[in-house]
Subunit: 466 residues, 4 copies
């Protein structure tokens, strides 16, 4: 299998939830997940509840592959949650698909999670000492076991106590006791927002899913907040004291859909502003600005407009790149990048080019792109990146790469420039990024190693979404 | 979907286990399950252990559908267990597939189970009160949670204590702590036997699986026995005091493969003897003896030989009857039975026929078969059954039907005869059956309602294998 | 892939046709093919016609795999034909699936064929010289091109002229011009019979398919006959002068279903009589007669009854042997035969055994079976075969093996006995076989090389059904 | 199934061919087709030839779904051709997949075709009168039957004579007699170009496929030209007298990949120029220019740059829109367009918007997009189209819609504006389009009804690619 995501961090998970008696909640969740598909392509699942019994269907693949009309029609309920997941290979893949559904002393519960706990190993050990058995390697199973540990409390109180046990990044949706719950960690690393469709409420990782199901955006969950959605509407339960908010910067840089707005920042606009900042930081006398599509496009437009330079489609993306593909043999390895992206020689020939991408992880793809642009006739290639150098791993739910493989950790700026083969190389500064985002309340740990949430050594090897 | 098993009790589950470092344990387990396929066609699974980590692959369908060579090759280990399962429909089918694999405080454990607990509901409640969460509706998950409840004991002691908690029928294989364990309930309702392949040992629901993998039959597990198989060979741990043995009579009558020998009784021979007993109990002046294939064949041969009557292939079975099939529409409902069995008019025409079947559950198929034989030209049809009337449900792992649907519970003998349309009808007597089996140590509860193991009211609705 | 058919000739093809306006002809054809599944498991297809337009669905696999209820429901028409096919591997498999449907000058035509033309190569060349292009390697395409060559004639006349061109074995069903046609070659090698369902008629390779769809058997087609079925019922068009009939003996010995009656001979009865003949030819003082199931069973019963010997289930067949299976590795090659057949030691131990099989082709499986029976404790194994030695290849639609691989061609009787390891070996004589069949009008070419229909050298390498 | 192509003409077919002994021609063809996937997503096929025997694999679905590494590895040869196809639904879909492979008098031949013959019906009739039978409804089968009609000529001469018979649009690749042939119709409606990889040559519908396999662009085939590629390299055989070239304008407007260059015109650049022309024809005082992605993007950039207006990502496309999708129920019909495209309110709010799309066919989608942009807060929506009004059907291989459904045929400009709900509406003029393309040698029949190639009445209902 050929990795088409090339050299990018991997999207992790997306969640959706809706409480809407007398509506087709499974179908709405299906459309919601469809809009969140970019957050995870490996497995998908939907659980529905009639207030007591919970049914679930999950499978490997895209939302459109896992669900058929027949399956959706047979998932009846008054409320539903759904999940899309990126995960690594292994025989237990399906077992780890979400939502996770359990029977416990008070009935049934379903839970779906985006993020990564940084004390999961310790919590597993502690629960194991008390007799818990685990059938998956997901954080979701840890969270559920914690909730049932507090089964003598009311469910809301149990959720608060559970959040006091948890450390890390999490955006969680839960079906239990005739209610839909949403939880967001006290740093608000992973996004979760509230929508309103008619008189009913829903929850989603990104606002684009609200648009898709025809719901109005209400607001993001506060860091540390618990929301409860039921027959009486929505109410908020102050969960944990809100820390300084640390929204993941990479959601804006690369992950989230351009039409989503997260914590008051529109993704497309933030990318445009990153391009403007790059123009201020590094104005280049070039003939044409091009983007590495799709995530680099807005930044490239911002850069070009600011400097009055023309923007052109210098790199074209094959829209049919799928998840399965026959790996090129060694002799055809050159084919690799070209299957996804092709240089448009007519546009590039004899020009001095500014090429804008959102990030460099290992650098291998970048060097091929620069070479491809040169081969297509570009006289100069100036490579601008709309994120600072990625030099530290993420422990909050994003799969970058091991630290040793990050090019920014291995080489200095001149070394990277030589490696990718550009005439010049510029990364946006942290200050420029913060200006583009218009806030300092973001997590920049993968750039500067300043982790807002502690990570125990035991958990450093682990970073599985869900 | 058209139910091709017609009017028969449903096979439930089969288990297999092997400890054989340096051999292909997954492949051997695959072949073992293949030989046990008749015990369950809905799902199959194999778990392998290298002594610490356990990997599992399971899926819906036949063994040959669930596993490919590629999958088998990638299941490495020194020991393995496998499971085939019959189960009812529902969206959570795959979740209930076995073996069940868990992480617990002491490491990993895999477990597969044939049988049915009669106090599972109480045990689930008790465990739930202590915080256990259940992701399946299987007894296996109950058993695993009990074992981990005794995690402060040695594993062998924990198994003994667990068996003290369990009530019902169970034959269990477990991978844990570098050992393969086998457990059989104190009444020995469900079969489990030991084989030896070279210097290594294996466990199987039926001896035919030992033949298939090239292992020698050693012996059956004693009721209440625990066997431990590891680097040092096999040793027996007296588990619970052995009750009076109560092997399931239906294993001999219908379920087990003819070439299996269970608790010293060869299945094919026992069926032949049932036919001999029927000949003594009910000799009929007929022209031809025929069987409802395949399970009625040995009895019919015994009957014919005893009375010096010719045996003929009066009913022919379609060997390609599969699990999926397009349901005949109402107008073609008549087609139903004929797709599986066809009367051979050349053989039947103008003859007085004795037709032998192993059992009648609801009676609907029997009446169609009698009519089919008549339509093919038989002058008389005498219907003999090699089991006593099935009048009570089984709670020990066999899916017969609800009591109200059992024809022997609804009608008297003459009523049944009229319903099926036979000229005469005879069921083997309990005494005849016991004579044929050569022992009184069998469970006849489904015939006489005398349940050797108590069944609490809470569990009467439940009878799921595994 | 492991070849589960072991060492048997391969079944070839089966055809079915029905004319029944206002009935579900596709569904009836589906059930008819289901009953003929033993004649071909590699591909299946159904074509329906409303009298003008023809629709077809075909695919690789069993009838139950190729068709869903949805597909059957969408095949509307007043008449239909269907086909099941055994064929060899290759990338063009599906292209060769039948029925073949074409547009020609007069409209559409669909055709399905069982048998093998012995002058196909010459006909292809001749047609090619006139500009014909071929998209498959089937005889069906040759036949269709011949029919259209005579397009200036009426269709019935064209069929007669086509039959004058054809040499070989063929049983053909055709949909064209609002009619269903059936053709049988002048030697009647391959079977084809007529059924009546209410006022409507159908055609089938074997009578068991008529039973399955609820049709009455009317009669077999005469060798050389053409039947035309339409709104006016059925009429016969004398096609070619009937040669001496040469029904394929192997249909009775091994291929056909026991409940079928072909050319007035019931298959099951003929097998019983083969056993009786074997008893006369070779009475053995043994303790038990066993069969190699399933095709050897009737012969073994005939043998045992005649000599007053007990019959027992000494070899048990795994009923779940499917088409796909993981090949045993070299070390486990011993597993091979045991996956399909297992010796029942309880029945065989310390006995002198007569084992009856229908045929020996290469002899490899036979030697394993004898060894297996011995290992299970048999004191003596006498091996009786209900067919004469297979020493010549079939060119009329049956895939035996190349001549050099036929054991009867390589070794003398004593050599074969030693090879298979039996204490004694006896094949039924040709005379005995003819007595059992009660006719001399059968083709025995594979036994004695006396080919009733000439085979040109160009066609000796070719023997593809359909 | 939900039609995600919304209201666009349907892409038709793409072809690829390569002659390269000792290279993996099937794999290279696979990559070539991958780059041409946008030209047809319904079926894909590859045929390989070793100079004599031809093997083919084809199937329904995307290139990545039809082929596995295993299949590609087993397609050996010195040359190959491939095809991707868009086609309508029906049970005979697979039969129509290409390449078509035949045996004819001189050996084997494989052929793949993009375009549509306008005298196919007449040619079929004529061939049928001479006894030809057709198994598909494709033009390819007609072309092959014509070629074999001239089998007494050399193959090159037969191709010339065949081209004299053909009327319509066609780009054809053929494997026969150890050679790879390419044919382009005398008007050059459909594209076909030549590439060179090392010393070997290949053919492709678009130059982007040459880039992908690492071949250099050599030139486009001349209208009416035949090229022959073999061991001796490439030579051109003047086929038919070249007519005035009439390249399909829609290739530039919508179909072709932006990085392709067809008949000296780069697609991306031509779209940019269409935007510039639109700016001259219809300058609007707006706040933001947005595109309907992806094909409208280049035009929008050209428009914005020319007028000094900002360009923004106002409509965002879901990148995971697949071929299969659960159709929204009636109540959720509103969801339809939003699943594919979402308006980005942050970007659009309170702005006067110019929205640029490539074409309007029925107008239904356009009205939803305008409404969506308004609902997202746009104060004004001016809708500009980079093609003239589509008022006539295409008979040369593009599936637009029946004439009565074309909105430009039903309403006048003001009527269309009202229907789509825009504040103003402007289509590019024919003159503007020709200026943007820089040539008059294009087919504009769908805009002005001036068909360069005659279409007989019999063929007006037919327009199937391949």
């Amino acid at each position: 299998m050929f990795d088409f995501s090339l050299d990018k961090p991997h999207e992790e998970c997306g969640v959706f939830g809706i409480y809407a008696p007398n509506q087709e909640v499974a179908r709405l969740t299906y459309y919601g997940l469809y809009a969140l598909q970019h957050r995870g392509q490996e497995s998908a699942g939907i659980a529905v509840s009639d207030g007591r019994a919970i049914e679930v269907h999950k499978g490997m693949g895209l939302v459109s592959e896992v669900f058929s009309n027949h399956i959706i029609k047979n998932l009846h309920g008054k409320m539903a949650i759904g999940h899309v997941r990126y995960s690594t290979t292994g025989s237990s893949l399906l077992a780890n698909a979400q939502p996770l559904v359990v029977h416990y002393q008070k009935g049934m519960m379903a839970l779906a999670h985006n993020g990564n706990l940084t004390n999961a190993t310790e919590l597993r050990e502690e629960l194991g000492l008390n007799g818990a058995v685990f059938q998956t390697t997901t954080d979701s199973e840890v969270i559920i076991n914690l909730i049932t540990r507090y089964r003598r409390e009311s469910l809301e109180d149990a959720l608060v106590k559970t959040m006091m046990d948890l450390r890390g990044a999490y955006a969680v949706v839960i079906l239990a006791e005739d209610k839909l719950f949403g939880l967001r960690d006290p740093h608000g690393v992973r996004p979760l927002c509230i929508g309103k469709k008619g008189e009913r409420y829903c929850l989603a990782s990104e606002s684009c899913a609200l648009d898709t199901v025809g719901a109005e955006f209400v607001r993001d969950l506060e860091p540390g907040e618990i929301v409860v959605i039921d027959e009486n509407g929505l109410h908020s339960r102050p969960g944990l004291r809100k820390n300084r908010s640390s929204s993941c910067a990479f959601e804006y840089i690369y992950f989230a859909r351009p039409d989503s707005t997260i914590d008051q920042i529109n993704v497309s606009e933030s990318r445009l502003k990153m391009g403007i900042e790059l123009a201020h930081e590094c104005p280049i006398d070039a003939d044409l600005v091009i983007a590495v599509p799709d995530s680099g496009t807005a930044s490239a437009l911002g850069y070009a407009t600011t400097l009055g330079l023309p923007f052109g489609e210098g790199l074209i993306k094959n829209r049919y790149v799928g998840r399965t593909f026959i790996q090129p043999t060694q002799e055809m390895r050159e084919v690799g990048v070209r299957l996804k992206l092709n240089a448009n020689a007519s546009v590039l020939k004899d020009k001095r080019i500014v090429m804008i991408d959102d990030s460099i992880v290992r650098g291998t793809t970048s060097s091929k792109l620069v070479a491809m642009v040169r081969k297509a006739g570009a006289k100069e290639v100036h490579f601008l990146i709309s994120s600072p150098p990625v030099a530290y791993p993420c422990y909050y739910g994003i799969d970058t790469a091991e630290r040793e493989k990050l090019i920014a950790n291995r080489l200095d700026m001149e070394g990277i420039r030589k490696f990718v083969g550009a005439d010049s190389l510029h990364y946006i500064s942290e200050e420029g990024l913060l200006r583009a985002l218009g806030t300092e309340n973001v997590c920049l740990a993968c750039f500067n190693g300043s982790y807002p949430i502690p990570v125990s050594d035991l958990n450093r090897g682990k970073n599985s979404c869900g």
